[in-house]
Symmetry: C2
Subunit: 385 residues, 2 copies
C-alpha cells in the first residue's frame, strides 16, 4: 500500500494511486491482463473502526475520482460536489467516501495514455479493450487493498450506475446497499449509434494518427470536440435545451454566415472546447466501447434477474429521470423488474424533471431528498452511529 493509501482518513480529502505490480495485475474480460496496474482514487471522510461506513462512488463516462474536491485540471468543484459534503446526502462527517478513476480513464488510473511496460511507449490502440466488469474488478481490488470487506453502499449515475449493477452481480457479498441512477442494464442500438458517431469523429481527425498521437506530440482535439458535442445533446432533454436557449441569438441579428449565431451553438462549441482540455481521446474510445459492450442480462444467460440471484440481501435504490432519453425510465423499470424477480428489496423513484440525463449532476432537490432518505435508512439498518 502506498503512503497516500496509508494516510486515508487523516484529512478531509485524501487519496493517491495504488500500484499493483506485474503478477498482481488486472484480469480482463477480453482474456488479457493489465499489468502493472495503477488505480487513482480520492477519499472523503474517515473509515470508522468497524470499517462499516465506506461508500464507493462510481463515475460516469467523462468523470473521474475528483467527485467532491477541486479538479486539478479545470480548477472547478468536483462533479458530485452537490451531493458529497458536510450536510449533504453523502456527508464525510458520517461516511468514508471513495471514488476511483476507472481503468481506461485518463486521470491517473491505467489507460491508453499510460506507458506500456512491454514497449516503453504509450499504449495507444495497443491498450486492451475493457469492460464495465473490468472497471468493477479494479475497484474491488482497491476496496480490498483499503481493508474494507463490505461497502455500506456503491452508488453511481449513468455509466456509474452500470458499475453499480455489475457490482451487485459480481461482488454481492461485499455490498450492503446499491444505488443505481439514470442507467440501463444494457446499451441500446441508439446508445451505440451515438457512441459510434463520436468514435468516428475522433478517428477521422488526422491528428488521431491511428491512436499514436501521444508519441507524435499532437492531439485529435477537433475530432474529440465534435464527439463531445454530439454526446452532450443526448445528456440534455429537448425541453431543457428549449428552456435554456430556445432560438436566442448571441448578438442582435443574424450573422448570415457560420459564426455561432444561436446561443445553443456557442454553448455546444464551448462544451467541446472545454472537454478536450481535460480528456484523452483514446480514453473516450475505450470507455465508450466498454459501455457499448455492456449487457448484464446477456452475461447471465439472457435473463437479467439471474445477474442478481446472489444479491437478495442487498438493499437497492433505483432512480430515473422522466426526461432522460439517453437511459429512459423504461430501462430503470427493466432493472427493477429483474431485481424484484430476484427477490431483492428495491426502492424505485422516477424523478419528474425536464433536465434530462444530466439531472444527476444538477440542482435536483428530489434527487437529494431520495439519496438522503435512502442513505439515512441504510445507515440505520446497518446500525451506524
Amino acid at each position: 500500500m502506498t503512503r497516500a493509501a496509508a494516510a486515508i482518513g487523516e484529512r478531509e480529502s485524501n487519496g493517491g494511486a495504488l500500484r499493483f505490480p506485474a503478477g498482481k495485475g488486472l484480469r480482463l474480460d477480453s482474456g488479457a491482463t493489465l499489468e502493472p496496474l495503477e488505480i487513482a482514487y480520492k477519499t472523503y471522510g474517515r473509515l470508522d473502526a468497524a470499517k462499516s461506513n465506506a461508500i464507493l462512488v462510481c463515475h460516469a463516462l467523462t468523470g473521474d475520482q475528483h467527485a467532491a474536491s477541486i479538479h486539478p485540471v479545470t480548477g472547478k468543484p468536483g462533479w458530485w460536489d452537490r451531493v458529497i459534503g458536510p450536510g449533504r446526502p453523502l456527508d464525510p462527517e458520517r461516511y468514508f467516501i471513495i471514488c476511483s478513476n476507472v481503468v481506461g480513464g485518463c486521470m491517473g488510473s491505467t489507460g491508453p495514455a499510460s506507458i506500456d511496460a512491454t514497449t516503453g511507449r504509450p499504449y495507444g490502440l495497443a491498450f486492451p479493450v475493457i469492460t464495465i466488469g473490468d472497471m468493477v474488478r479494479a475497484q474491488a481490488m482497491l476496496v480490498e487493498a483499503l481493508g474494507i470487506e463490505t461497502l455500506l453502499a456503491v452508488v453511481g449515475g449513468s455509466m456509474g450506475g452500470m458499475q453499480v449493477l455489475q457490482w451487485a452481480a459480481d461482488y454481492p457479498e461485499k455490498l450492503f446497499s446499491a444505488v443505481c441512477i439514470a442507467a440501463a442494464a444494457k446499451h441500446s442500438a441508439q446508445n451505440i449509434a451515438f457512441h459510434e458517431v463520436g468514435r468516428q469523429a475522433i478517428m477521422a481527425d488526422p491528428d488521431w494518427r491511428g491512436g499514436d498521437y501521444e508519441t507524435a506530440g499532437v492531439r485529435p482535439e477537433k475530432g474529440l470536440a465534435v464527439a463531445r458535442m454530439a454526446a452532450h445533446i443526448t445528456y440534455l432533454s429537448e425541453a431543457a435545451l428549449q428552456r435554456k436557449f430556445g432560438r436566442q441569438l448571441q448578438r442582435d441579428g443574424l450573422s448570415w454566415g457560420f459564426d455561432a449565431d444561436f446561443q445553443v451553438e456557442s454553448y455546444l462549441r464551448h462544451q467541446g472546447a472545454a472537454f478536450v482540455d481535460r480528456f484523452d481521446a483514446n480514453s473516450y474510445l475505450y470507455i465508450t466501447r466498454a459501455l457499448d459492450y455492456f449487457d448484464l442480462g446477456a452475461q447471465h444467460g439472457g435473463v437479467l434477474a439471474n445477474a442478481f440471484s446472489r444479491a437478495r440481501h442487498v438493499r437497492f435504490c433505483v432512480l430515473s429521470f422522466s426526461s432522460d432519453w439517453l437511459y429512459p425510465t423504461s430501462e430503470s423499470r427493466d432493472i427493477v423488474r429483474a431485481l424484484n424477480a430476484a427477490g431483492a428489496r428495491t426502492s424505485f423513484v422516477e424523478i419528474e424533471t425536464d433536465k434530462g440525463h444530466d439531472a444527476f449532476f444538477l440542482d435536483e432537490p428530489q434527487l437529494d431528498a431520495a439519496l438522503r432518505g435512502f442513505f439515512a435508512s441504510t445507515a440505520q439498518a446497518r446500525a451506524l452511529t
Copy 2:
C-alpha cells in the same frame, strides 16, 4: 426558356435547368442577389390545357429533384418513388409533377460548388447564406417560367414541409392546396444543436480547407460522413433502431476492438460513406444553416397565424408521425393551431408508426392513404377531370 423546359410534358420524365441571367437573378433574404441563377428540375406527367394540374414537390435537406426517376449518381429510384408514379397517390397520368433542386443544393441548381461569375472559381464560402424563403422564391420563378399561375398543390416532408409553409406565407395566391409532412414552423434548439455538430464535423476536416476544397481537388469526406451519421440517428426512432438492429452483432462474438461489432455501427458507417458520394459538404453547411434560420412566426411579428393570413382559401393537409422526435407531432399541432387561427381549412393526421422522422420516405400505408385521399378530394374540388 431552355429546350428542356420547352419540351415539358412530351415525355414521362422530363426537366432540365432553367437559367436566369444577370439582372434577372434571385433576390436573397440576406440582401444579396444570386446571379446568374440556375434551377435544375424534373417533371413527371403532362400539364393539362387549363394548367390546373401542377403539383410542386419540395425536397428535404439531402434530397434533390430526382423524386421519382433514377438518380444519376446512385442509380437508385427517386426518393419519393413510392408516392409518385402510375397508380400511386401522385399519379403522372393525372398530375403534372414538378420537383426542383433547392438553391444552395448540389444537383444542378446554383449552390456553393457553382462557379462564381465574379471570380471564375467555385463560390465555396463566398456563396451567400440562403433561407427557406430564398428556396421558395426560386421555385416561384421556376413555376412562373413554366407558365403556371396556380399550383394545384405544393407538398413536401421535413425541410420540404417548411418550404410548403413558406409558400403559403409568401405566395398564397398561387396555391390551391398545401401538404406539410413531418415538419415544423421553426427549428428548435435541439434541431440547431444537431446541425451545428454536423457543421463542426465538416469544418474540422482538414480537407474542407475553409470551404475551398473544390479548387484544391480534395473533399472533406470524413467530416461529411460523420455529419451524416449524427443526423441519420435523428431520422430514426429509438424503437426502429431497436427493432432493426438491437444489439445484433455483425459476426459471431465481439472483436474486442474498434471494428464495427454491432450491426447498427455498420449501418451508420454505410450511411456516412454512401452520402459523401452524392452530396457536397458546403451544400450541407448552407442548407442546414437555412433550416436553422427558419422561424416562420418570427418573420410575421412573432405570431405564426399571421403568416397564413392571406392563405385562408388554401386547403391544408398537415401530417406528422407519432415517433418522429426530430420534428415531433407537437410542432405540427402548432402549425395546425396557427392555420385554424388564420381561418384556413386544415386536415391534420398524426400517423401512428415507430419508423420515426424518415417514415415519409418509407413504406407507410397510412401516409399513402392520407395523401391519396387528400389529392383526390383536392382534384375534385378543383374540378379536374
